[in-house]
């Protein structure tokens, strides 16, 4: 499903599921969150030893208070695919954990209709010493099934994961791809009314990817209530009926996924200005990103690419005010935020060496010879002026996420062409 590229297209009918969206307004509420508060007390100096407690019993433990959720209220209707987006640290994962009964709320209430299964990470609780059979049963019981029910469903799980021959193999002998497939299959078979999912969507090889996409669409159609936490805007627009944007633990916006996604991009930009200490009054963006996406060789928008498959990064921009000497840069970074690639360029037809006048639109494409190892990556985007790489006017971290899949596992993030020769030394054999 294509992204909507223009903000003024909001009123246009959205995707084929549009009729579904109107049904949803009449559906009963499946999740009701009211006035949720969560404060983490982070010890300034962690006293983790009883000894220290005993030595200084009266020493006041000093805490830094981190207000993770502030008065968060929203409803999710039965059968809705609901996205929660926000930057790292915006409170979205904490919210999911409170909803999943992993964290305790400090105030407010969460009410749910029906059974719930959280998926914070794939394969949590897998024991490498046990066979797939035992692990699947254990995991299913963790998700609320009875052991006999879990055993009954074992066949379906293993079949979905395509691991029929390995059902009695210990997990420690599984490849990482097999593990991911098994974990995902367990999740898919969870027969709960409500699923709480934290960025586990994109896993496995090409065929499995397709299967997962089918499953998510299937769950949508089946009318399961799904809450998805992510900062992959493409996924939000692709799957979600509605989305919610969190910032600093507060609800900024709830509504149309496309609109929320754009608000998210704008919010990222504003934050940058605050951090950079820009003079007030200049808090609107001189450059606006209208759209950004990735394409495969086939020209289709995608978020996952096979190893060694070339990637095209595309973006459309509009200058709201003139930016002299504008330079545009993309950074490809790993999930751990290690920059792998940087691409910098300027407008090609501008005589003044890249001045971008107000009102001007531009499109950028970068063709990347993809030598990335399998894994999740993010794209940061930035604009600088005066041909000075330090004079940043726009910085949008984690603008897009994408996945590289394949089975050539490597310890290095990037591969390169090389020739290696290993020839035996003529030894002095006796």
């Amino acid at each position: 499903m294509a992204l909507e590229t223009r903000p003024d297209a909001d009123t246009a009918p959205r995707r084929g599921a549009g009729d579904r969206a109107t049904d949803l307004d009449a559906a009963p509420v499946a999740i009701e969150v009211r006035g949720l508060e969560k404060v983490f007390r982070i010890p300034a100096q962690r006293i983790s030893r009883l000894k220290e407690r005993l030595v200084r019993p009266l020493a006041r433990q000093e805490y830094r208070r981190l207000h993770a959720l502030r008065d968060v209220s929203f409803d999710v209707r039965s059968g809705e695919f609901f996205g929660i987006v926000g930057r790292n640290g915006s409170g979205k994962s904490s919210l999911l954990k409170v909803m999943a009964s992993i964290y305790r709320a400090d105030a407010g209430s969460v009410r749910m209709a029906g059974s719930v299964a959280p998926f914070i990470e794939l394969g949590v609780g897998f024991d490498p010493e046990l066979s797939a059979r035992d692990n699947v049963v254990l995991n299913a019981v963790m998700m609320g099934m009875t052991p006999s029910e879990a055993r009954r469903r074992l066949g379906a799980v293993i079949e979905f994961a395509e691991l029929e021959e390995f059902v009695d193999l210990k997990l420690k002998n599984y490849s990482s791809g097999m593990l991911v497939r098994l974990a995902f299959a367990v999740m898919v078979q969870a027969d709960t009314d409500i699923l709480l999912i934290d960025e586990v969507l994109a896993v496995g090889d090409a065929a499995f990817q397709q299967k997962c996409a089918d499953v998510f669409q299937g769950m949508r159609k089946e009318g399961k209530t799904i809450v998805l936490v992510t900062h992959d805007m493409t996924a939000v627009e692709k799957y979600c009926h509605r989305a919610m944007l969190l910032s600093d633990g507060r609800v900024v916006e709830i509504g149309d996924p496309g609109q929320v996604a754009r608000r998210y991009l704008r919010l990222n930009f504003e934050r940058h200005h605050e951090q950079a200490g820009q003079p007030s009054g200049d808090d609107s963006a001189p450059v606006r990103v209208l759209d950004i996406w990735l394409e495969g060789r086939d020209g289709q928008r995608r978020t996952s690419f096979e190893q060694d498959e070339s990637i095209r990064i595309c973006a459309e921009l509009e200058a709201l005010r003139g930016v002299p000497g504008a330079q545009f840069g993309f950074v490809v970074a790993t999930a751990d935020d290690i920059a792998v690639h940087e691409f910098v360029g300027q407008l090609s037809d501008s005589p003044g060496g890249g001045d971008m006048e107000a009102g001007r639109k531009a499109s950028i494409t970068v063709d990347l010879q993809n030598r990335l190892a399998p894994g999740r990556y993010y794209i940061h985007f930035g604009v600088t002026r005066d041909r000075n790489r330090k004079d940043v006017v726009l910085h949008l971290p984690h603008l897009l996420g994408f996945l590289v899949y394949g089975d050539q596992v490597s310890t290095a993030v990037v591969g390169t062409d090389y020739e290696m020769q290993i020839s035996p030394e003529p030894g002095e054999e006796g």
Binding site: S48, S101, R111, I120, E129
Partner: protein, 280 residues
């Protein structure tokens, strides 16, 4: 909408038993069975290994306390008494030791799934109980081979194991909850449990303890259990717990402490359970 539509119910948040008691027991049982299977079926020698440790300890103690310090001279059937005592205490020590770190080790499920926290230390104790069951089969073979019994009082073994198990669970729950916050509990407990070993009539019988220290030994909730083990399993002519203590009144402190520790366990674990995911 439709009649089958489930109604909204409040989400209770994390706790010791979150997700219903049925699921709690299912999980405890499954984890324990899996742990047990990993130790036993993992290696052919698995069973022997787990039996070997207490047996070696038994061998050393037997040598020391019959050949060097003639502690067992006046105790009838001292070797088999020592054997069953060592097995029982070994269960207590290993179960509490493994429960201590269990919650921290299972960090993944605590932080990333909705999981009844208490199932984790209890599964450690339950797996230890399976081990004990298997060991006791060997122990009773030894006892019979030694020419002791069988006595009808052997049927009362569950009545001895029940309080031992309860006490072990209580201690395990307290330790596992505290270890999340205070990592030096591991060191403290290794010393404390060693001290408890000597404060429990494992090596000796209560009657040889000097009168002025006897109250200390009798304060230990494990003591009456071990006295009764001797009376019911090894030597019916030996005094039972009440006689050995010198009247039921003298068992009140141990019984009180037993109850206090059980209540403390429930209180501590319930207090810590909701915060465990954040503390880890």
């Amino acid at each position: 909408m439709s009649a089958i539509e489930p109604e909204l119910r409040p989400v209770s948040g994390p706790s010791a038993l979150a997700g219903g008691t049925r699921r709690f027991w299912d999980l405890t049982w499954l984890i324990a069975v899996n742990k047990f299977r990993v130790t036993y079926l993992g290696t052919v020698l698995g069973y022997l290994w787990s039996l070997l440790r207490p047996l070696l300890l038994f061998g050393v103690l037997l040598f020391v306390f019959t050949q060097i310090i003639k502690l067992g001279k006046h105790v009838q059937d001292y070797p088999v008494l020592l054997l069953i005592d060592v097995m029982l205490f070994n269960f207590f020590q290993e179960a509490t030791q493994s429960a201590l770190t269990s919650v921290v080790q299972e960090e993944g499920v605590v932080r990333k799934t909705q999981f009844p926290r208490l199932a984790i230390p209890l599964a450690s104790v339950l797996a230890g109980t399976f081990n004990l069951g298997v060991s006791l089969v060997a122990v009773f073979v030894f006892i019979l081979g030694f020419g002791v019994g069988p006595y009808w009082t052997w049927l009362l073994l569950p009545a001895l194991l029940a309080p031992l198990l309860t006490f072990t669970c209580a201690v395990a729950a307290i330790l596992s909850a505290l270890y999340v916050r205070f990592r030096d509990m591991a060191v403290i407990w290794s010393v404390l449990s060693q001290a408890l070993f000597y404060a429990t009539p494992v090596l000796y019988t209560v009657d040889i303890v000097p009168q002025q220290f006897r109250w200390v030994i009798l304060l230990n909730p494990l003591t009456p259990i071990f006295i009764q083990v001797r009376h019911w399993i090894i030597d019916p002519s030996a005094p039972g717990a009440i006689d050995a203590a010198g009247g039921a009144l003298h068992l009140v402190p141990a019984a009180t402490l037993f109850v206090v520790i059980c209540i403390l366990a429930v209180w501590v674990f319930n207090r810590e359970a909701p915060r465990m995911a954040e503390e880890l």
